[in-house]
């Protein structure tokens, strides 16, 4: 049952992402992407990472994508007929390189002897929290500093300068 759900969600993710890439309308692309991220968050949940799954929904699908939407609206980019769209000359090298990369990666996976998946023990929220704030406490601090710097940088960039 859970396996079937995983594969279905995997298919949803890939298809939604494909649509997002191929979509010429930026707002539509964002919506496709939100779909993809929702599916991905359920996959996370299935893989025993409920906290990450929740944050995926809240931060990625909720905050970051909305930020993208805001910027698109602010800059008035929601008119695909005005902008130049990728033509065949843009598509074929991208697809070629993507295909080569993917094929190489898949070859590498396949070359491994299929590991018998041992039943990894489930990770609880408590364990996760202990690892996050205990073992990686310093990393959390560093990330918080980075967020602060990003805030200051964004403020600086967003300031309207007198010409």
């Amino acid at each position: 049952m859970e396996q079937a759900i995983f594969y279905i969600l995997a298919a949803v993710t890939v298809v939604a992402t494909l649509f997002a890439i191929a979509e010429k309308h930026a707002v539509h692309a964002i919506v496709y992407l939100v779909t993809s991220f929702f599916a991905l968050s359920v996959i996370f949940f299935l893989l025993g990472a409920p906290v990450v799954a929740v944050f995926e929904v809240i931060i990625y699908a909720g905050a970051i994508m909305v930020l993208f939407l805001f910027v698109i609206m602010m800059l008035d980019l929601g008119h695909p007929e005005r902008a130049r769209l990728p033509g065949r000359r843009d598509w074929w090298p991208a697809l070629l390189l993507g295909a080569v990369t993917l094929a190489a990666a898949l070859t590498l996976f396949a070359a491994r002897a299929p590991a018998v998946a041992p039943a990894g023990k489930a990770i609880g929220v408590k364990e996760f929290a202990l690892a996050l704030f205990g073992k990686y406490g310093v990393a959390v601090e560093v990330i918080s500093m980075q967020l602060l710097f990003a805030l200051v940088g964004a403020l600086y960039l967003g300031k309207r300068r007198e010409k």
């Binding site: 893989l47 944050f55 993507g98 295909a99 990770i123 990686y136 967020l147």
Partner: protein, 102 residues
């Protein structure tokens, strides 16, 4: 572990390749380019979470959370820069900004 670890990795690989293609295709739109980066980062997070489940250790999940935090910082800065650049040249095409040419 509900599915073999390799399947998770294959899914992550496909997502990564799609993100790569997105970046390479959308050179005339910085926003789509950033979206491509988000897709690739998500693929990385998926690989981390899969690893955490495979070996039963919380570290992978911690790292995916850190990636998320890092991404939010990166996106906020990157979008601020997009706004700034759009204000300067009225365009978001990446190739228009080539002042650093050697």
């Amino acid at each position: 572990m509900i599915v073999p670890f390799e399947h998770v990795l294959i899914l992550a690989g496909i997502l990564f390749a799609l993100g790569l293609v997105c970046i390479l295709v959308w050179r005339m739109n910085l926003i789509m380019l950033l979206i491509g980066i988000e897709i690739m980062l998500n693929a990385a997070m998926l690989a981390f979470v899969g690893g955490a489940a495979r070996w039963g250790m919380a570290d992978g999940q911690v790292f995916s959370l850190l990636i998320m935090a890092m991404t939010s910082a990166e996106v906020s800065l990157a979008l601020a820069m997009v706004v700034y650049l759009h204000r300067r040249k009225k365009t978001v095409a990446a190739d228009e900004f080539s002042e650093l040419k050697g």
